[in-house]
């Protein structure tokens, strides 16, 4: 049976349920959110339909600029750390026995599926004074006394890298599996050390993949909504945390929605960049 265009109305019937569900529960909520971002906030957490730009005007404040700048800087730092750690790791993983690969993939998937609540809890325990890593260092005689490592910027960064690392490996994995092994073999035959072959052959061959991965991990890190709150101080809060805070605790839905719309625009712009980077990768 060849693929053929739908001829009768009945041919479209399988599409009805998915199309209806996605439209009603994704497109409409999305539209609602955009509408609410223009609404007028009332005292006491309510909002009334209106068409005002007040919520967007608040972006112009120094406070918002600071949060936005910090969020972008944080996501860039996470993306760079993850790719630097994951690229050699994934490359070596793809050269290992299939059985070993599968064990690692199952472990990475399990960690990736962990809730941010759980990751935040696990790291705050690890960084705490009573149960933390410093106790191990004290036991080894490397430190005088145990102390808390959280809240701090380093704690937030570590937690977010932990969260994004499995994702980075899984994004890099298919590209590295497909990488032609004869490339490095040729470099090795010509006398390059394995390390030199990695940096002069593998990394340049994957330039577009690396750029695309950096952007995807960046978007992933932008979405982190709890770790900055659990492991950092208020000045370490990112845009996602601020949106949650405004929506739930400050009951300022219009402002939260306006920030969310802004975050969508940033994300979509970056997705477009990834697609362009991907296209170039195919052409090369």
């Amino acid at each position: 049976m060849r693929r053929e265009p739908p001829q009768t109305f009945g041919d479209y019937s399988p599409l009805l349920f998915p199309a209806a569900m996605l439209t009603i529960f994704f497109v409409v909520p999305f539209g609602t959110m955009i509408a609410v971002s223009f609404f007028q906030r009332q005292q006491g957490g309510f909002y009334t339909p209106a068409f005002v730009f007040d919520n967007y005007a608040r972006f112009l404040s120094a406070f918002f600029g600071g949060v936005l700048g910090f969020s972008l800087m944080m996501a860039i730092a996470v993306a760079i750390c993850c790719v630097v750690l994951a690229l050699p790791f994934t490359y070596l993983l793809t050269r290992m026995a299939r059985r070993v690969q599968i064990v690692w993939l199952v472990a990475l998937l399990s960690i990736l599926s962990l809730s941010e609540v759980i990751i935040g809890f696990a790291w705050s325990t690890l960084f705490s004074r009573t149960a933390g890593i410093t106790n191990i260092l004290v036991a080894l005689g490397l430190m005088g006394e145990a102390k808390a490592l959280t809240p701090s910027f380093a704690a937030v960064l570590t937690g977010m890298v932990y969260q994004a690392f499995p994702y980075t490996v899984l994004v890099l994995f298919p590209a590295l599996v497909r990488l032609d092994p004869t490339l490095t073999e040729a470099a090795r035959t010509l006398g390059a050390s394995p390390l030199r072959a990695f940096f002069t052959v593998v990394v340049p061959a994957l330039r577009n993949t690396i750029v695309a991965t950096l952007i995807m991990v960046f978007i992933f890190a932008l979405g982190s909504y709890l770790l900055p709150q659990l492991l950092g101080r208020p000045q370490h809060w990112t845009l996602s945390v601020l949106i949650t805070d405004q929506a739930i605790y400050q009951s300022n839905m219009p402002f939260a929605a306006a920030m969310a719309v802004f975050l969508v625009l940033v994300t979509l712009g970056l997705v477009a960049l990834t697609v362009i980077a991907g296209r170039k990768g195919e052409a090369a």
Partner: protein, 266 residues
């Protein structure tokens, strides 16, 4: 890279990934209600607490119900869509595929906030079933991607042979297509199930004030009083995920599934 260097590098990565989990596992066997590490005494009572304490048991039950139902709904949305895209030439219909992938690509807080404003406007805010629908939409990407991959792996000559011998669409779907894509349905369901079990922000924004799922319960415990039960739930979650993904790997082609997922996301 020399072998010793490589082993050391892999060991460091494994340590980085495992360390928080080791500490949490240690905390979960404390004798008294303290989050000490190394644990003081040994007791498995905090694992029993998940099932015996009514609050934690209710949260566990809520999470399981939510995950079972929302993953089923996600598959029910993804299956006809993926089948239609495979069976028909309808380029404009790929917009629905795009819509199916979008909630998972955007930062989760956006989908969560969109659904919060939607349910609040529609007047259903806080009803338990809204969480099921919300999670199904949020995670529809996973079965959609695995199923799209499953359909492309079907040999079309099988289907043609059946059609030549007079089978109609319905018969072909039941006797040929369904058995061939069953593994992909199962893995799509498994991915959606595990992620729904762990999901916090969408559940919190839709039903956070009326229902407690396990992640919400852990978050509340983080704010209003630590207990080693949080640690035992974490161990339970990571083990569940490892078992489910281990089964997917055992009965399916995990590297292939992941290869397709990542290339689809690009």
């Amino acid at each position: 890279m020399t072998s010793i260097f490589r082993k050391f590098y892999f060991f460091l990565i494994a340590l980085f990934l495992a360390l928080p989990l080791i500490v949490v596992a240690g905390v979960s066997v404390n004798q008294k209600q303290t989050l000490a590490f190394p644990p003081q005494g040994f007791s498995t009572s905090w694992y029993g607490e998940i099932f015996l304490n009514p609050e934690w048991r209710n949260a566990l039950f809520a999470s399981l119900t939510l995950a079972v139902l929302s993953a089923a709904l996600a598959v029910a949305i993804a299956l006809p869509l993926a089948w239609f895209l495979w069976r028909r030439v309808a380029p404009w219909a790929t917009i629905f595929q795009l819509l199916g992938v979008a909630p998972f690509t955007l930062p989760p807080v956006i989908t969560a906030l969109g659904l919060l404003t939607f349910w609040a406007t529609a007047g259903f805010y806080g009803q338990p079933w809204t969480a099921v629908v919300s999670h199904a939409i949020f995670f529809v990407t996973l079965p959609l991607v695995t199923l799209s991959l499953g359909f492309t792996s079907i040999d079309r000559s099988l289907v043609e042979a059946a059609a030549t011998m007079g089978a109609d669409d319905r018969t072909i779907f039941r006797t040929i297509v369904l058995p061939l894509i069953l593994p992909y349905i199962v893995s799509g369901y498994a991915f959606a199930f595990v992620l729904s079990l762990n999901e916090y922000i969408v559940a919190y924004m839709t039903v956070g004030f009326t229902m407690e799922t396990l992640p919400i319960k852990i978050f509340n415990a983080l704010r209003y009083g630590y207990t080693p039960t949080m640690a035992s739930v974490t161990v339970l979650f990571i083990s569940t995920a490892a078992v489910i993904f281990g089964l997917v790997a055992r009965f399916g082609d995990l590297p292939k599934l992941l290869g397709a997922m990542a290339s689809d996301q690009k």
